[in-house]
């Protein structure tokens, strides 16, 4: 066979590929390609403030305004880092124990409030701190207090409620739902404490503050873009968590046991390995990661009641989309989720005041549902 004929597909092969059964996949691929082209080339700036058509976006296309494109990309990456930190804990627990820890969000919330109390206690202000008032120690100590607290609470929850019904997935999901309802309600009753009289309790919004040295811009030397150092620090922490988890799972014995347990729990335990201890370790690490994520995001934004539901949902979505049980899948899911929601908010057309950027969150979830429709186990999920 000549090289030429080997490259060109035969009519039959082409017909098979373009058959109607492949239509949904082709359509999806076409939409994705169009979306990329739209962001990169097709979109334009509005002619004047307020006007718009299907092509206008806030900043125009990437080719036209590369520095804005770069900023949005960095926004997405940094947000993905925060998502990854919180979701990796959830992914670890789900991957190993097949336990959907619906209390993950409540642990996150509790960690945020504990860290707030510690930071306020250290700096002694009782209200929002300016970055200049916070040094690195004032940020690390709250983390060092919150993470072990939540790790212990996670361990207690797992030993008391989840150890003896391993394998009953729905029951465990229901138990953790109950725990989350109780914990969230108790948080509302007892936090925040170290704040003004009228703001005490009720789960009111409070925030942590990054250390002062992060409050500046970094010149990226590309297109004159100045980017916030705090967000880059967040990206750094996310990368560190990712690398740390990879090293732990792939270069240590405990990690090896966990991976074995993810693949085949029964066999691992039949080999004489104390699988219960491994479960406990995984739950502790997973909860500690939720705490780290809370401290990071509370510094970036704030912490308030209601965020437990939001972050549980974020973790669920990231882990499901990326593929359950895989750290790499959690990273992929976080990146997809962050990019779609950030780019949607800025690169959806602005046809007028009422459309369309406010539908970015709907778009994100519709895409999630579509991913699940085509790949029910997630993008990188194993077919267990």
């Amino acid at each position: 066979m000549s090289a030429l004929s080997a490259r060109i597909p035969t009519r039959d092969e082409l017909g098979l590929y373009l058959s109607w059964r492949k239509l949904p996949v082709l359509l999806a691929a076409a939409v994705v390609v169009f979306a990329f082209a739209y962001v990169l080339f097709i979109s334009t700036l509005p002619a004047s403030f307020g006007a718009g058509n299907w092509r206008t976006t806030t900043f125009g296309s990437a080719v036209h305004d590369p520095s804005s494109f770069l900023k949005i990309t960095l926004d997405s990456l940094t947000f993905a880092a925060a998502l990854f930190i919180v979701s990796s804990g959830f992914a670890l627990i789900f991957g190993l124990m097949r336990t959907v820890n619906m209390a993950h969000g409540s642990f996150y919330l509790l960690a945020g409030y504990i860290a707030y109390e510690v930071q306020q206690g250290m700096t002694g202000q009782g209200f929002s701190l300016q970055s200049s008032e916070v040094n690195t120690w004032d940020w690390l100590v709250p983390l060092a207090v919150a993470a072990p607290c939540i790790a212990v609470i996670g361990l207690v929850t797992q030993q008391a409620f989840l150890r003896w019904n391993q394998g009953q997935e729905l029951r465990q999901a229901l138990i953790t739902i109950a725990v989350s309802v109780i914990v969230a309600d108790q948080i509302i009753g007892h936090f925040p404490r170290n704040t003004s009289e009228g703001q005490k309790f009720g789960g009111n919004a409070v925030d942590l503050t990054w250390p002062g040295w992060t409050d500046r811009f970094v010149n990226l030397h590309i297109g004159g873009v100045q980017y916030s150092l705090a967000r880059l620090v967040m990206l750094g922490i996310g990368l560190a968590v990712g690398i740390g988890l990879w090293l732990w799972l792939y270069r240590t014995r405990t990690g090896m046991v966990i991976r074995a347990g993810v693949d085949d729990q029964k066999m691992t335990s039949a080999l004489g390995i104390n699988i219960q201890k491994t479960f406990a370790i995984a739950f502790v690490v997973g909860s500690a990661l939720a705490a780290l994520g809370a401290v990071v995001w509370a510094s970036q934004s704030n912490i308030s009641s209601g965020q437990d539901g939001v972050w549980l949902l974020n973790s669920l979505v990231v882990v499901i989309v990326g593929g359950m049980g895989s750290i790499f899948g959690a990273a992929a899911g976080a990146i997809l989720f962050a990019f779609v929601s950030n780019f949607g908010a800025v690169y959806l057309p602005t046809t007028g005041s009422d459309c369309c950027t406010q539908y970015s969150s709907v778009l994100t979830f519709v895409l999630i549902a579509l991913v699940l429709a085509f790949r029910p186990r997630g993008l990188f999920g194993k077919d267990a």
Partner: protein, 467 residues
């Protein structure tokens, strides 16, 4: 078999009797109707969600009016929700039958309203606290004309503009009215001509923003971009990116509330650098409801939309109110809009009952005052007047965040805006759509208070017009 059958019938019979007894016991509770001549009042507020802290504040305000005008005696000086005794208007006792516990969302408002008005059989409701709850209560009021409803401190426009049932009253301004004058301040004192606005994507965000937009556009300003992050947005960064950069606009209006204010401002700082007080104006969420501790330190010096209250301003009437309320509830901030609005609602109820002689229903609705003395009111002889739709025409006070000697930051009144009505001089009509993402449009109109805003300095309202 026969023995089993007998036993099974016995057991069944016992069970039926027990359940019937239980039902009877519970239903007597349900059946117990109010036949006393006491007026049954329910106070609807929030104890969960974004305004959870409002619970004791609102009840404290209402209790203060009951104490001052209806001989009420508070059970606890530190916790208003412990209740009151001895509330009496003439010979008619007032019984506070329950406190509603909302969470700022509609489904809870539904349950709580029905619990208060149907299970506890309240005749009058004072409340609710938040805008969307009030829209529901207004629709409910329309369906229950024999009950009377006096809004607590909700800021949505619809209840008294588009829905406006005859048995619903509001003795304070709505969210748009609270911001009257701030646009003119931005135009005249800061020289803004083009501004962008970020608002929460729900009714209070739209209503509060409507006040800023209407006021700013009325004097000739232009709102070039409106951004609406949904409530419970996790990352405000993409929405802040939608705002024009600081070199393309003169300023930003912020109508992001509750849990999002600090987060949105942080996101702005990370995108565009330190906040310039001259380029940022917020609504009451910059200075009140806890923001003085969390948000205000970032924006010291910026102007802040009002809340119908006048912190720091002194005159005999206001100081007398403060002294009285502080003596009753020393821990409460009696200058807080929440506290004051519930105070005025309860005061109106007492005056109405005095005039109606304790009668309820349509008689009470006719007797409720159409003009009432308010400590925070200066124009119109110190009277807050109700318009034809039972909505207050109220003086407003615009503020600026200042740093106090002890390091804390608090809002201080710098401008007095007399006689603000809900229609903004005809811009908002019952037939016009309620405030929304594109409502109101940016139009140059003449508001009744344009050019009449007075400067407030050193806690005193001067006669100097704002230039």
């Amino acid at each position: 078999m026969r023995r089993l059958k007998l036993r099974s019938w016995k057991t069944a019979g016992v069970l039926v009797v027990i359940s019937a007894a239980a039902v009877a016991v519970l239903s007597t509770g349900a059946l117990a109707s109010s036949h006393a001549k006491a007026v049954r009042v329910a106070i609807m507020t929030d104890c969960k969600g974004a305004f959870a802290f409002g619970y004791d504040v609102d009840i404290g305000g209402a209790n203060t009016a009951f104490a001052q005008f209806a001989h009420g005696v508070t059970k606890s000086h530190s916790k208003p929700s412990a209740g009151m005794t001895g509330i009496k208007v003439g010979s008619t006792p007032i019984q506070v039958v329950g406190y509603g516990c909302g969470n700022d969302t509609v489904p809870t408002a539904v349950t709580e309203t029905k619990r208060l008005m149907e299970k506890l059989n309240a005749d009058v409701m004072i409340g609710p606290l938040s805008g969307d709850e009030a829209v529901y209560v207004a629709n409910y009021a329309k369906a229950h004309p024999t009950k009377t409803f006096i809004i607590g401190t909700a800021g949505s426009q619809d209840p008294t503009m588009q829905i406006a049932p005859k048995n619903l009253f509001r003795y304070h301004g709505d969210g748009a009215q609270w911001n009257a004058g701030i646009g003119e301040i931005a135009y005249k004192k800061l020289g803004w001509r083009k501004a962008a606005i970020m608002m929460d994507d729900y009714s209070f965000g739209w209503t509060s923003a409507a006040g800023m937009i209407a006021d700013f556009c009325a004097v000739g300003g232009d709102i070039v971009k409106r951004v609406f992050p949904p409530l419970n947005t996790t990352d405000y960064a993409p929405f802040v990116r939608q705002l024009p950069p600081p070199n393309q606009v003169d300023g930003y209006f912020w109508v992001v509330g509750g849990t999002g204010t600090g987060a949105a401002l942080k996101a702005y700082e990370q995108a565009y650098g330190k906040l310039d007080p001259k380029q940022n104006i917020g609504n009451l969420f910059f200075g009140f409801l806890g923001a003085d501790k969390v948000v205000a330190p970032k924006v010291v010096g910026s102007y802040v939309g009002g809340f119908g209250n006048m912190p720091g301003v002194h005159n005999p009437k206001v100081d007398a109110y403060r002294a009285y309320a502080k003596k009753l509830y020393p821990a409460q901030n009696v200058d807080d809009g929440f506290f004051y609005n519930y105070y005025m609602a309860a005061k109106a109820l007492v005056l109405g009952l005095q005039k109606s002689g304790g009668a309820l229903g349509a008689k009470l609705q006719a007797a409720l005052p159409r003009s009432i003395q308010g400590p925070f009111q200066i124009s119109n002889g110190g009277n807050v007047k109700l318009d034809a739709r039972r909505q207050a025409i109220q003086d407003q006070y615009q503020l600026q965040l200042v740093k106090n000697p002890d390091g804390s930051v608090s809002p201080q009144v710098i401008a007095y805006v007399p006689g603000v009505d809900q229609s903004f001089g005809g811009l908002f009509k019952p037939t016009s759509p309620p405030p929304g993402r594109t409502q109101p449009p940016c139009k140059k109109v003449t508001t009744p208070w344009q050019g009449k805003i007075k400067v407030v300095a050193n806690g005193k309202v001067t006669n100097q017009i704002l230039k």
